[in-house]
């Protein structure tokens, strides 16, 4: 069978920097190829090049897509290829549709540009494809604006736009990264379904090995602009050739691996949360209502234990974190920390290590600040020791946050949280913004520090696999409530609540 997409020795250069360094691959009709890589691997540049969408890069090699030589094509040929031959779905569903126009009109417009159909035909087509991608009540929703759609629905609308043109290849660049895991699962099912139905090929670009393994037939692993390995998914997973692939696979946390933790926790309770509730007032005046972000939550955490809290966006898990560290006051209920209840005993590691460090203060200063506030002796010396402990060069005390990588910044955040020797550490999505291999290192560091500093951890994340890896017990949150709380092994092995089951079923497995 002749491939619908073939790429030979593709090189993409931005000024003096080479983002893609000689990548070759082929994609057959109806086939799904996954491109996996960490940030900076060049996978997104590769995707954009397939449609000739780079404006400021030097692209060499050969790209033949749906019968068009992309690098030699005239503007008009390229225009026909875009959408008609190869269609693309982007990462951020929030911004990839025009906020001013109705969803149906946008699809119809693209359809008309390629087919010259009448307005009426195009409008009907838009409704038809929206219906096909599973938008309920498509005729009515076609008249809605993008902001009235949820993230998953916007992504479906974009797929519908592609579908209307019946392309031979669909390129999806991190299509589910911004979505919740259950939404992601349904979207990936839709892609499978469409592929089987229409025979279009799929090029799926993702940082998530699980997503690729679940969806693709073959996988291409990229690192620093090079293809380090290429082959059928099953074979690469079972028997990776390249060291990098092996490392990457080892670093991926799994929901189905034997539990990382089989400790017996016998300490006395350190954190006791009872009847905790937090309301936020919203809505137009006169019709203002209090919405409970956290509703009647109660649990205990023993000394030395790690409690994991998982939930999708809007489940109230971040509000809970802020309530525990008392950045927010509860509407009702109590948060008690055993002992003399000093505020310094409870510290927090934040999600975004970029935003949680003041860009105008040196990292050493950031770590020493809590010590200075509390009048501890020799704050600078302690800060340097902490830097060394979390794996940073103490000599970089005077460097600013932007001089560090994301992983290093999170180490700074951890060192700052430890400066006051807290007893309880609340980690809110501490590794979400990091690449898998960096993730593994930071998680390893946290585990070491927990032993060394006798820490009790509350670990909050949307990622079920990560939570499983670090937690003794796990709580599942939904709509502000804890729906299930059990030992990690038990919760993942035999979930009791239907929502927990649904979440676990949605996680793509390796």
């Amino acid at each position: 069978m002749t491939p619908v997409l073939s790429v030979r020795d593709l090189r993409i250069r931005f000024g003096s920097q080479e983002a893609v360094k000689g990548v070759s691959f082929e994609l057959a009709e109806g086939e799904a190829l996954g491109v996996v890589g960490e940030s900076g691997s060049g996978k997104s540049s590769l995707a954009l090049a397939l449609l000739g969408l780079h404006t400021d890069a030097e692209v060499t090699g050969e790209i033949r897509a749906a019968g068009t030589d992309v690098l030699a094509a005239s503007p008009e040929e390229l225009r026909r290829l875009r959408g008609g031959g190869v269609a693309m779905v982007f990462q951020d569903p929030l911004s990839s549709l025009d906020p001013f126009l109705r969803v149906g009109d946008q699809i119809a417009e693209v359809y008309r540009a390629h087919t010259g159909a009448s307005r009426k035909e195009a409008a009907a087509k838009a409704v038809q494809v929206l219906d096909r991608v599973g938008i309920p009540d498509a005729a009515r929703r076609a008249r809605a604006h993008p902001h009235e759609f949820s993230g998953g629905m916007r992504q479906r609308a974009l797929i519908a736009m592609a579908l209307a043109l019946e392309p031979r290849v669909l390129v999806a660049d991190e299509p589910t990264t911004a979505l919740d895991v259950t939404v992601q699962a349904r979207l990936l099912d839709l892609l499978d379904d469409l592929r089987a139905d229409t025979g279009m090929a799929l090029l799926l670009v993702s940082h998530d090995f699980g997503v690729v393994a679940r969806t693709a037939d073959r996988v291409l692993v990229m690192r620093d602009g090079e293809a380090v390995e290429q082959g059928p998914v099953a074979q690469v997973l079972r028997d990776p050739r390249a060291d990098y692939t092996r490392e990457l696979l080892a670093a991926v946390p799994r929901v189905d691996a034997p539990s990382g933790r089989t400790r017996e926790i016998t300490g006395e309770p350190l954190l006791t949360v009872t009847g905790l509730r937090r309301d936020f007032v919203s809505g137009p005046p006169l019709r203002r209502r209090a919405v409970a972000a956290v509703d009647d939550v109660a649990f205990q955490v023993r000394r030395g234990e790690t409690l994991g809290i998982v939930g999708e966006s809007g489940s109230g898990k971040s509000t809970l974190a802020r309530l525990i560290v008392r950045l927010l006051e509860p509407t009702a209920g109590t948060v008690e920390v055993a002992g003399d209840g000093r505020r310094r005993d409870v510290q927090m590691v934040f999600q975004d290590p970029g935003a949680s460090l003041n860009p105008r203060r040196t990292v050493g200063d950031a770590i020493a600040e809590p010590l200075r506030v509390h009048g501890e002796p020799e704050p600078e010396k302690t800060a340097r020791e902490l830097m060394a402990r979390v794996g940073l060069d103490p000599g970089r005390y005077g460097a600013y946050p932007h001089e560090f990588s994301g992983g290093q910044r999170q180490r700074v955040g951890i060192a700052r949280a430890l400066a006051l020797r807290p007893r309880l550490l609340v980690c809110d999505e501490p590794v979400t913004a990091l690449d898998v291999s960096t993730q593994a290192q930071v998680l390893g560091l946290l585990a070491e520090l927990q032993e060394e500093f006798d820490l009790t951890l509350v670990f909050i994340s949307h990622d079920l696999a990560v939570v499983r890896q670090v937690s003794d017990r796990v709580a599942v949150m939904r709509d502000g409530r804890i729906v299930e709380l059990a030992d990690a092994g038990e919760l993942y092995g035999s979930p009791a609540h239907p929502y927990t089951k649904e979440l676990l079923a949605a996680v793509p497995r390796l």
Partner: protein, 329 residues
């Protein structure tokens, strides 16, 4: 939406009440006898006493302000014995210097200001928006450098300087146009326009530079948005991408900015009218300030404040209409 409008109207009224109180206080409680000021130049003892009685200055200040508010709603009479000056609602005050209600003075000058503002705004929008868009779309080309350069020069020049230069070139040197003298539109439309060309150009060019900068910034911002990339990736022609998807995003902020610019526009109008000797409201203000005709100054300031507050409210509603994401709550 209804609720929003009601609330917004309430806010407008509140702001105007406070504004009127402050302006009133500022001008009537300043050192100097308000009666002397209201009476104006060429005042004698007899007229002064009369004015004092008409103004009701014997009453406490809050009562005077209350009468002022009453006058706004119901009109009022300034009476001293048999001598009564009537001021119909909405009464903004009475100019004893020119023996006319303030509102009447202002409305008689208003057509001039409106003529000036209308033409200038047309020039400003046409020139400004197209220059701004063009320089954003032709990024990195010589046209862009030229346009941004011209825009910068326009932006940095005060309107009266532009006016003076235009006068020097077109009236004095080339002698193509007369020194502007206002002719009402109803009298002779041709002369109306011919006399207003220079004022329109002066005020319009300055305003165009402001619009060009805003439009350019808006267009540059929109052009790098993700949804523009989507439509390029779906094979729309570049012209269509710009026309259908970039323009709207680039131009919507202009609604708000135009409203904010109303205050600036008034400033520039005052200067332009003075510069060209046009008998508009701006000129009236300058004259009243010169002759210390306080009731007129208070009236103009209040009306101008009202215009600023109202235009902001209108712009907010229009923005919500233009941008489906904006909710009015």
């Amino acid at each position: 939406m209804t609720w929003y409008l009601l609330r917004r109207l309430g806010a407008v009224v509140t702001v105007l009440l406070v504004l009127s109180a402050i302006v009133y206080a500022l001008f009537y409680l300043t050192p100097g006898d308000p009666a002397v000021l209201a009476c104006g130049r060429g005042c004698n003892a007899e007229r002064l006493a009369l004015t004092r009685e008409k103004l009701g200055l014997a009453e406490p200040v809050y009562a005077q302000y209350w009468h002022f508010l009453e006058g706004l709603v119901a009109g009022r009479d300034y009476a001293a014995g048999p001598d009564v000056d009537h001021c119909a609602a909405p009464c903004l005050g009475y100019s004893f210097q020119s023996d006319q209600p303030v509102l009447q003075l202002i409305t008689s000058r208003f057509p001039v200001s409106l003529s000036l503002a209308f033409g200038a705004e047309v020039v400003a929008l046409l020139l400004g928006v197209s220059a701004g868009l063009l320089s954003a779309l032709r990024q990195g080309r010589p046209e862009e450098r030229l346009l941004t350069g011209v825009t910068l020069v326009g932006y940095a020049t005060p309107v009266f300087l532009v006016g003076l230069l235009l006068l020097m070139v077109f009236c004095a040197y080339l002698q193509w146009l007369p020194f502007p003298a206002y002719v009402p539109l109803t009298e002779n439309p041709g002369e109306w326009a011919r006399n207003l060309i220079l004022p329109w150009a002066a005020l319009g060019l300055i305003q165009a530079a402001v619009f060009a900068r805003i439009t350019r910034a808006g267009a540059l911002e929109t052009l790098v948005e993700d949804h523009i990339r989507t439509f390029r990736a779906y094979g729309l022609r570049e012209r269509q991408v710009i026309r259908r998807h970039a323009l709207r995003g680039a131009l919507t902020p202009l609604i708000t900015i135009t409203a904010v610019e109303v205050a600036q526009m008034m400033t520039a109008s005052v200067l332009t009218e003075t510069m060209f000797g046009l008998p508009g409201v701006g000129r009236l203000t300058v004259e009243s300030v010169g002759s210390v005709d306080l009731p007129v100054v208070v009236g103009v300031t209040l009306l101008a404040g009202t215009a600023v507050v109202l235009s902001n409210a209108v712009a907010d509603v229009l923005s919500a209409v233009a941008d489906p994401r904006v909710k009015l709550i």
